[in-house]
Symmetry: D3
Subunit: 289 residues, 6 copies
């Protein structure tokens, strides 16, 4: 169960309006790596988590914080939309910069949202549930969460360089700091999980190695292009990070199965089948009424 | 530029048909973490990669291999669809197990695909480009690639337990082995990238720490629920994995900004504004024709 | 800013597992009219609301409650997925009913979610942001909210008749009661809004009637099919609900503009244009290199 | 069955081209609340309607009219796209205003549509079937239809303020008048339905109240945030609009169920389970090949 | 403008209910190649058509007929949904066949649609506007329309073999006949268009050949795999169908440009750039605040 | 199995950057008719093809080539994004043309892709699997492939007129030449298929004509609008292209079935049913708890 405080976790007030930047800022609200994604991802991971205690709390605490970030960014976007040019005429009466704002803005912000934030990305594509994963395997999901915070912090840092507005920059600084924390936190969670003996690499470690074609394919780099540049990386020789094998390098990987030949399909599906010619075809065709 | 060999990288032949399992196998073909995702993700990461040599090759080699996995799984699915029950009547004449196959299958496999594989997931939702990310920041993307291989191997391992067919299981063993390699490989790539001094944590490390509200928010765990279970994890105290700070724990995070109050909106957007009552409203309303 | 309590608003514990019903229950979690929709819709309406005080609170209070409903239903679904049949073989060893569960379940629940709830509907299509609207006009949005609660309660009532599980039925009873409250609440909010003189029908009432072709088209029912059954409804005669006009009935509506004839398109777009024949065509074609 | 008249219901001719406005006008053609939505929604409601006579006719008449609006708006958009700047060079040779048109237009209008209307919204996202609902319960759907016309009229009114083109404005006036009629009409339909004794509030009224936890939760406002502003609305005290209960106000709603603890998951799904450490884990892991 | 007749173009009455087949029949209602696609595609092609007279009429006539097919199939689906099993319990009390129906049905048909047709495909994915194209070039679109009718008739023929219900089969026979007509019709339209001298192959023929690298690449089959099977087809030698060139066959196509090397990216985007090591990196990093 | 050459099939180097054109060029990369579509469509058609030899090779050869086109266009787009204006401020300091570029660009190119190509169309909507069809019937799919190349060449030709950049124009010329070849090739494949006696018109020809309502509906043009313009086309009289019938023209098509009347729905779904009034309703309502 959740409760709501009316105050914001951090200030979300621009020094001036900028409808084109409002559209761009949507990326970290409703984009693939935005706050709606991390909020929902961590909450679903928490609700589906089978380990009571610190891990479940971790997911739900951070998911709850991210809901507050959704709120802050939505508020910031709404404020950035103040005084948006309603029409080309209006923009034209001012100056080319207002024309660029008009051209670079998301029309749905005004027509659909009436000047408010929308659950969409910087293009205007709606956020959707496929952006999140809660797999039940905490090691797989912790790596995803590291990624989410890394991609998120990257996007915030890019947006930081896309505006001169001091108020916007200050909120972005706050988000950068929290993304720093969250990257570290999910890295620490990986260490903790391994220390607790719950999971190890490769994911899922509970799947028995003996059932794999491990000997032949489990540690071999296959180079599918001419040249051997790829052999110079750590992935081509030496011990593998999972501590269970040694990397090998294969510069001319071969096929292990012949060209597949499919049998004729069910004639009732009317695919083009081999031998569907002449009398055979006529007979087959006459069978279905 | 690509070339195609007619042979398969590995055999993709079931011992018998199973249309319901064919639907399930689609998850690792056209699902969020399936082979279409990794193939396209690595190729786009390679095409956009600004470092010639081993890193660019790494992306393009592995992306090219994954195209061959797409081919193998598509072939397997088409073979699993042989003899699929076309109708309830047909299923009913056989036995309840065929009824379950009918019920558990994806009708589009027959109606749209004519008994062939489709670029969709286990539900039947089409694969889409938002599943992939090529951010330009290799550290962020390498973590995503570790995740993709971890989620992928997890799904293959689950599917391994969802069938008794020896031919299917053999192909899944091959995929498990390659996913083992690829998890290790992307982990090794992270180490290599750091050794080469190109990136470090947190992502993006080139963003200057001093521009963050780092001191206050960069290393503090905020516990947004009652109880202190979360304080017991490594994320709440001790050195942070990025080696740049010490974790702190805050069991009662506070708001840092007052309740936001928005100004009235542009009346030409007809949102509900404060003070839109009585005479004021009448006047405002009469302004727009 | 939000905080999270570990306890649930209401119990979410089935008496037994039922993976097929888990799939169906997803409709009120991640479907168009499910809890994710109402939670996000009310929160966005609140964040974008320009009236401080009771209206803004109303949105944010109820949105926060709905987040707790998302949590309850996600928990219920995860519990319903216990002991789901992993394979047809497993189902077949048991009985036809388990076969029907297998056939009627969502494979992604196990393959992607590892036995946990997903942000999708009863088909398996991901929830998306286009399901919600926060238009800024409170009267339009209150009517949408009445609808959302009506459609939501309807779906819960249908699901109530699709299971015999006492634990599931008890949680659905709770949701029905809250949907009853929320329908009433949004109806009351419409009354309050009108009493406060902020909005009236038709939406948006601030748009001046005189700028419409009101006299001719604003209150006339146009019957586009043979027969006059439609004339028997209240919408064809008598005073209109907005108190501003009288309904009229037109049993043979006519067109008011001639067949549109479009000019030739820009030849550089290579659409098929009138007169693109013979020498003219040749000349036009030779113009572009 | 339908027939088509070549004439338009109303004139759809702009005084001049404006590709940027053409993009914006798409919102009421292929947006969530656009004409494709109402046309399809009313037609599906009609086809699924089980009441022959005035109600079924109402749906099908109005759905048919809306098809004619789709036609008018598509025609208008095609005309607005005349002389669209094909390139930045072309725009640059003219003036900044043409640059803003170029920036603010939808490139797919020219590249995909060849200068014709598309079934997309103002962003360019394709219309989809999830925008419509035909639930079978007429009261729920009538409220949705009131909403659709309210949101639609709101968007038309906003677009009216986004252009100075007299021809466009005249068509919008016609649409505003019809949306006025349709809002009134669906309100009248709600009254008619109740008068006919077919449905009443809350939806679905046929669900017996006694099966709800009505006494405790059916009429209580739960305030999930500090402060009591929300208690000042009509939703917090007095009789509820359904005439069946009295509103109550609860300023500190409590949880009614303990923190949920999930049992370990099926180990064959490789989620992270409690107790998956040490010897236990080793045994579990060795079980699956 | 459209008008609606209450009668159906053809009877749409099954002999008995079958909810699983109702789900499958949705493919030709709301699937990629279903009736909603052809109806909307032809109407948009007509509205955007710049040739008044027979071509514009052709589009609009057939689009209008397809709207009547949408109506027939929607009606048929609603009737097939009668007596659908509401629950597993209900199905289990009957027999395994009812279990298969339960498993093979679309739950949204009952939960969302209340037993009515939905604008979705056989999986349950909503129809969307990207299914249709109206390019403005009639030759390109006529070929698409031939395809749409071919794919449509193929799907109807497959569905014909998926049911024993005489009423359903009779409606499918009608649709097959109309799809036969429409395939022929669009083929005839291609002939007419060429006879009228409006378009010829390749599309767009107005693009001047001289601006292409025609000599080298315009008529050469490039064989990207080992073996020369592909050289045996008509596409590898002899005159090309456009009458403008001779096919050639190249069994070892070569690359015409060197490996692309991208310059470093804008450092403000924080991508991983070459040379971002040591002191250089430090300097670059210190530049942005 | 695939291999990758580091060289490009053709040069993909613009003479200068143009972020707005980069967005537009995405249409032929990740749009409905772009290179991702044809690459995947031909590969899936090949993998599902049941005819070993020239046809299967044809699909796989051309699909493999198209993967190389995806690579070229992705490379071109990345290069066009060089020096994209990061902010409105940056654009404003330069000139109105840069403002138009800013307004006309896709923000996700920088924020999400870090200056690299994305798997999206010119609007920014992600590519998805529903764009492709591999039906198993080669005649249906060959017509689709003709269409795909026709629409593709049309879009390339339009883009050719949307830029002055010599490098871009040169790559487009190459693509135009290949699209010329591919249109011819798929036309030749249709001829080959018919010569081989494998398929004929209408699709699917194996469906027996006698099972259709052919006599009455198989060759008749139904004119659903006033006027007889449509009778002047070849589709209204004379022999049909399939050589099996004679076109007829019907200027007043009639309905063949009465208005459908649906029975009451299952009361447990709470749809609005006829006769749900007075005592009957009370009784029905009291039945469900």
């Amino acid at each position: 169960m959740f409760t709501h405080l009316k105050d914001l976790q951090f200030e979300a007030k621009p020094d001036g309006p900028d409808a084109a930047f409002a559209r761009r800022l949507q990326e970290i609200l409703g984009g693939k790596w935005g706050e709606m994604t991390v909020a929902n991802q961590y909450l679903y991971q928490g609700w589906n988590c089978r380990l009571p205690g610190k891990y479940k709390d971790l997911f739900l605490d951070v998911g709850t914080e991210e809901m507050g970030h959704v709120e802050m960014i939505a508020t910031m976007i709404t404020r950035l939309l103040e005084n948006a040019p309603l029409s080309l005429q209006e923009a034209a009466e001012q100056n080319p910069m207002v024309g660029a704002i008009y051209g670079g803005s998301n029309p749905a912000h005004l027509i659909h949202g009436g000047g408010g934030a929308l659950p969409v990305d910087s293009v205007g594509v709606p956020w959707n549930g496929s952006y999140i994963t809660a797999s039940g395997n905490l090691l797989a999901d912790f790596y995803l969460n590291v990624t989410a915070e890394a991609q998120g912090r990257l996007q915030v840092a890019r947006l930081f360089n896309m505006t001169d507005d001091p108020g916007v920059k200050q909120m972005l600084r706050f988000l950068l700091a929290r993304d720093t924390m969250h990257q570290n936190m999910w890295m620490a969670a990986i260490e903790q999980l391994m220390e607790d003996g719950l999971e190890e690499m490769p994911v899922p470690d509970a799947f028995p190695d003996s059932s794999e074609l491990t000997e032949q394919f489990g540690y071999t780099y296959l180079d599918f292009s001419p040249g051997t540049d790829a052999s110079q990386g750590r992935w081509a020789s030496g011990p593998a990070p999972d501590g269970k094998g040694q990397f090998r390098y294969d510069d001319s990987p071969r096929a292990h199965a012949p060209e597949p030949v499919l049998p004729p399909g069910d004639p009732r599906l009317y695919g083009t089948n081999p031998g569907m010619v002449g009398e055979v075809a006529t007979k087959v065709k006459s069978k279905f009424t």
